[in-house]
Symmetry: C2
Subunit: 216 residues, 2 copies
């Protein structure tokens, strides 16, 4: 938590680049409220998904709607700020996995960790599903994740553990599949997606006499 990072965040949220730094500092209480809103956004979007209203967020933060609309012109902007951070963290996980020994295992671990996070975050899942929310930060983080995964897959292929024809392009569909399981009406507080992740990962392993994969 450096002062640098906070300043950067504030700029990004206001949609200004650092070059156009004519921005006056916020009044102290206003800055506090800004942070409250971001936190409330994180919690509300995670719990109720992207269709939560800014009114919901405001109420959750203990503030009026007007205040929220003053800091973030619309839901897009808030979502962008909130999920930008969220995706950066996932990109960091992928980065860590990148240079672990057992590439397939590392990939499996990364997927498990990232999906566990998604499991608790309905908004994040919706974000992945339909690319409605765009923004420079999000795109950058997504690209980083993709790059790290490509690297992992290449290494797994070298190690001979990866089924023929599996590529980075398979990861989004796999995430989508796990998401679908998470969205299923849960009867108990269990985590059935872990079961299906195991099944799918086993299907991605190279096996003797295994059928050719149909094209993407």
């Amino acid at each position: 938590m450096s002062g640098d990072r906070e300043a950067g965040e504030a700029d990004a949220a206001r949609g200004t680049t650092s070059a156009a730094s004519t921005a006056r500092p916020l009044r102290r209480d206003a800055e506090l409220n800004r942070r409250r809103i971001l936190q409330a956004g994180r919690e509300v979007f995670a719990a109720r998904g992207l269709q939560a209203t800014l009114n919901d967020v405001a109420h959750h933060a203990g503030l009026g709607v007007g205040t929220v609309y003053r800091k973030f012109p619309d839901k897009q902007a808030l979502a962008e700020a909130v999920f930008g951070e969220e995706l950066e963290e996932i990109a960091a996980m992928a980065g860590e996995a990148r240079d672990t020994n057992d590439a397939f295992g590392a990939l499996a671990d990364f997927l498990e960790k990232a999906l566990a996070r998604a499991a608790h975050n309905r908004g994040l899942r919706e974000l992945m599903r339909q690319g409605t929310v765009e923004g420079a930060g999000l795109t950058r983080a997504r690209q980083a994740i993709t790059a790290h995964c490509e690297h992992l897959l290449a290494r797994a292929r070298t190690e001979g553990v990866l089924r023929d024809g599996v590529t980075e392009a398979d990861l989004a569909p796999i995430a989508a599949m796990m998401d679908a399981v998470m969205a299923l009406p849960a009867e108990q507080p269990s985590q059935p997606w872990r079961r299906y992740l195991v099944i799918v990962l086993d299907g991605l392993r190279a096996q003797p006499g295994q059928a050719e994969l149909p094209g993407l």
Copy 2:
């Protein structure tokens, strides 16, 4: 508002096979229109999903909205009639598979055929996803499908090809996963779900030294 309606007249769920006893026969043109509406419903729901309006259906059938609302009190009722038939047909497929020799193969074939149908029918997919539309016909067909699949799985288990711990309860999640892939923004007119069905089915096969499945 209390019941001044003719009882037989209001028998909206006419798709039900048995009960049409007291109903006066429809005028010839009216009966024709009824059929037109069902057909239009099938096509429109398949193409645009359940959120298509009855206005859409009416227009597609070349009829006025009023006519549609006369035959089916609301969208629920029409959807129930349309998808009742649809599900019966899938149940029939499952029934056929039931007594084929190679049980695992038969199950795989059934899934492939049923999913291929779902792939062309957005409404049907939405119906499976969120159990919003209920009705006697639907429930009955669903139960038939479940029963047939249980039978198939039991036999596959006997034959020793089925991974330990796989049950009928896994099929709905698998369908949900394939649905998720189908819902992905398609870049080409390809059928990527087939690829992932292969992967998942391979993960459901018994293999030496394979990990225990996490519970449902």
